[in-house]
């Protein structure tokens, strides 16, 4: 019981000393800091006044800029999209063609196919 009472007294003493030191440090704030606080306060009061008057036209300038940039970004984004979800983009189609095995086979026998083509041309001229 006594121990608890002692703790409470010690707590009170700590809090009182902390409060005293804090108040002292508040009183010792330098003139430059107080001036900055005063400027901040005046700015806040100006904003409160401006807010009550309503939105000034100058506040529309950045808002309009943001809106225009958003519209531009949406147009660019939708412009690059495929026509519908079922149509793959052109790059993907090209990529698939390149990877198809048949084409590699055709490339290996290119000389043979060229000879057949030449042969058929010759026959058609003769015929």
């Amino acid at each position: 019981m006594n121990e608890r009472k002692d703790n409470v007294t010690e707590d009170d003493a700590l809090v009182a000393k902390a409060k005293g030191l804090f108040d002292e440090s508040v009183q010792r704030l330098d003139a430059a800091t107080l001036s900055r606080l005063n400027r901040g306060r005046q700015m806040a009061l100006d904003q409160a006044g401006g807010h009550r008057v309503g939105i000034r036209w100058t506040q529309w300038v950045p808002a309009t800029g943001v809106a225009a940039a958003t519209v531009f970004a949406v147009v660019l984004w939708t412009g690059n999209r495929p026509i519908d979800d079922l149509t793959p983009p052109a790059q993907a189609t090209d990529f698939e063609i390149i990877l198809e095995g048949d084409d590699f086979e055709m490339l290996e026998n290119l000389e043979f196919y060229s000879w057949i083509e030449l042969d058929e041309d010759t026959k058609s001229h003769v015929g």
Binding site: E10, D11, A13, L14, V15, K17, A18, K19, L21, F22, E24, S25, V26, R28, L29, D30, T33, L34, R36, L37, G40, R41, M43, A44, L45, Q47, A48, G49, H51, R52
Partner: protein, 200 residues
């Protein structure tokens, strides 16, 4: 014609009343900010350990209160103001943590060269003479309070330094009154442990 004149007179009086009440509100806000700003600055400074950042946070809190909550009754301003300020402090800590992570990622750890904390000027911007005046006791207290967990620090500073009651502290912290009592009690206990008997 008489009715029109009477209507004009009433509208003039109304407009005049509104002007007066706006002026009164501005004066009341000015008085509130002037009363609270110094303590708020020191509270923010102890929390973020930097006077410039603390000045910015206090100014932002004043602007937000003036713009959004000036129409509330003046009794509600202290807890609202401190709630805005504490949110600013928390946001500052979050951004600081991210910045520190990025610095570590780029290999700029504390082990590289000079210790920035040791090399930094005194956060309160005091000259050596003033620092001597402030004394070791205040510096130890600031360090101990800054080292407390966020909630305990908030509860201790708002109750002890600002003198808010439990209810207003709860509103400012966005927690229950019971939670404020717990955080405050733990904070006092932790400070007693950290500062030791000789400090008191």
């Amino acid at each position: 014609m008489n009715a029109l004149a009477a209507s004009f007179a009433v509208s003039c009086i109304r407009g005049h009343d509104s002007g007066v009440s706006t002026l009164q509100l501005d004066e009341e806000l000015n008085r509130f900010f002037a009363d609270v700003e110094r303590r708020a600055l020191r509270i923010a400074e102890i929390a973020v350990r930097n006077r410039e950042d603390a000045l910015d946070l206090v100014q932002e809190a004043m602007i937000k209160l003036a713009r959004k909550y000036a129409s509330k009754s003046s009794e509600e301003w202290p807890p609202l103001f401190y709630r805005i300020l504490q949110n600013g402090v928390r946001d500052h800590h979050r951004r600081q943590a991210v910045r520190n992570r990025v610095m570590v990622w780029f290999g700029k750890s504390d082990d590289d060269g000079v210790d920035p904390i040791a090399a930094a000027p005194d956060p309160a911007g005091r000259s050596p003479d003033q620092e001597l005046e402030t004394g070791e006791a205040m510096r130890k207290l600031e360090e101990a309070v800054a080292a407390l967990p966020n909630r305990q620090r908030e509860a201790f500073m708002m109750r002890t330094f600002e003198g808010l009651d439990v209810r207003d502290t709860a509103t400012a912290m966005g927690v229950t009154e019971g939670s404020v009592k717990t955080h405050y009690s733990r904070a006092v206990h932790a400070l007693r442990e950290a500062l030791g008997e000789h400090w008191q």
